[in-house]
Subunit: 399 residues, 2 copies
Amino acid sequence: MTTTRPQPSVARQSTLRSTNLALVLRTVCAADTPPSRADVATRAGTTRATATRLVDDLVAGGLLDEGARPTPSGPGRPATPLLPSARTGALGLQVDAGLLAARVLDLRGRVVAEHVEERDLAGADPEPTLARLGALATEVVSGAGGVRLAGAGLALPGLVDAGSGVLLQAPNLGWSGVPAADLLATHLPGGLTPLPGNEADLAARTVAEAAPGRPGPLRDFLYLSGQIGIGGAAVLDGHVVGGSAGWAGEVGHVCVDPAGPACRCGSTGCLEQYAGRHALMVAAGLARDAPPAELAARVAAGDADAERAVTAAADALGVALAGVLNVLDLPTVVLGGQLGALTGLLRPRVEHLLGRRVLSARWRRMDVREASALPAAGATGAALRALDGVLADPARWID
Amino acid sequence: MTTTRPQPSVARQSTLRSTNLALVLRTVCAADTPPSRADVATRAGTTRATATRLVDDLVAGGLLDEGARPTPSGPGRPATPLLPSARTGALGLQVDAGLLAARVLDLRGRVVAEHVEERDLAGADPEPTLARLGALATEVVSGAGGVRLAGAGLALPGLVDAGSGVLLQAPNLGWSGVPAADLLATHLPGGLTPLPGNEADLAARTVAEAAPGRPGPLRDFLYLSGQIGIGGAAVLDGHVVGGSAGWAGEVGHVCVDPAGPACRCGSTGCLEQYAGRHALMVAAGLARDAPPAELAARVAAGDADAERAVTAAADALGVALAGVLNVLDLPTVVLGGQLGALTGLLRPRVEHLLGRRVLSARWRRMDVREASALPAAGATGAALRALDGVLADPARWID
């Protein structure tokens, strides 16, 4: 039994500075246009003097930058615009069955340096694979020049044990019980230890957040990461629903038809068996690793097998996603990964089925859209997550 | 686009008293055994003098009671135990296709007075139905003697519009677009206006909370409310997952087999069509409103139709719930309503299927259990929700 005790309400003196620094940093990060010190004071509800002192500390500490003052267009001196700093960032890493990726993101959410390497890693040995990723990361970090790295994150295509960080199972890599983050840490520069997480959960953050601490255009949606497997993440009010152990979002193993084909997971008729990359391509008469564009070309040419495979995938997505949306009450599905590239082909039929099968569709339109075509979105999400630590406690980084 | 601005961090002087009163009240409510003033000071992180002053105000305001001091068993005077007050409570109301219920719950979570009336309300006219519920409520409130009612809640078996409070659709009542809470308010004593909510969401609170503000034994689970329809609520860390519009939890409309029977909702093969009360009883060769005990007796007697119907319902539950648990990462399913009475019959097969179909079942046991047999759990949940307002801002009730 979990007993939650109320926390003391009185902020201790020693944490007050930290709380206020975080408030000011988040205020600047959340802004759509660079605010002035006066804007920050208003939005954070502090006095002008307090805001100025805190901003100055954050600028000196490399967490905020002062932008160029605009040319005066009237009386008075224009205020200095404030931005999240380009001098601090984080390293995002990703292992997938089809790629390795390393990417440095700064506090403004810009890619400073990256290396994405497409490789077939199904059944690959963990140790040399992670050594190779470490080498990519080392190269990327040295290419990121003077950016101070506040942390690192690692996106993994499977269930991660929150306590130990061990990758419990990644069926498409064929890995189970791999301490991936610890193995990788021995190959990373500067004593970085990456925080591991589920790829789909992390990729979903690239939709929920326009930049570190800045809300993206969608706040409530289901993100689908379609690779060989299909991962997912439900996002409510901008936050990924983690579930009781952080294992939520396994949409690929929602059953479409109990009498359907066997799945690697031990069950039958799982969504992956209809809309996963290998299943879809093979059903269309293509090589299992054929690119989405090849399937689209076949459909455009009127190939019957390709059309049937796309229809079956859309039907399966419609049934499985309707169940998820009925349970989670989300109006939007964002298709990412290789499934994203097929959005145009899948959308009409999937939206039709959601309209019919989702109870709340009578009161609002169900919307299926494509994620931005960013490759290795999990790596970006892993960097965003690593930057959470800076936004939550900037004092640690400037004192 | 939703833009969230950080809130000012500085508590204003006028709200400080309110915050501290809430902290102390929650501390007493959360305690497993009645704490003393000194215990409250320790747990709330305040000085003894502050805690004593706040406790005295809450006792005078009818939100805390002083229990009998135990007989001294050693040197010194034993401390006075503190309890949530029996002098303040809330009214919980419920309309379902099979019942009307009114119940007064006090701050200790005890039922002070109640009236549950079983009625077949499928297709009933809303106005006289709600007038009847109002009459029950009036009787129950007068039977609750001197308990001050801090609010009322209304559990409804369908989708409620959060803004207007209108019941959008309750298929098993045959109601749509009914302003049920407003209609009911005209029949309630003392100007009470009930806060409407979904029945399953509210019933789930009776599992998540042992008493107002006191955590129950389960914090992460899926609650299934099985009546004619099947509602549901996912609970994570003690809180019901509401979804983007408060419509989450429609487990009854998760598709079990797209080629299955038509559902009232316009879809096909929904879980309700296999495990809903009418579907299950009819499949077993019984009258559609037959009680669970009659089905259990038939199975015990080896009736083939009854066994087949139970197996089909368990198979459907296994497939649908596995999908939900894969997506939401919950280890436990609690069966409530009339489905709860069939837990013994359903559990072995449902647990077997969850073990096979839930990805994380390799690392932990999937657990199906019966909710307590409280009738009209939604009414209790509605009262618990109404008491949230007291726990959040006790100053409103004592000043």
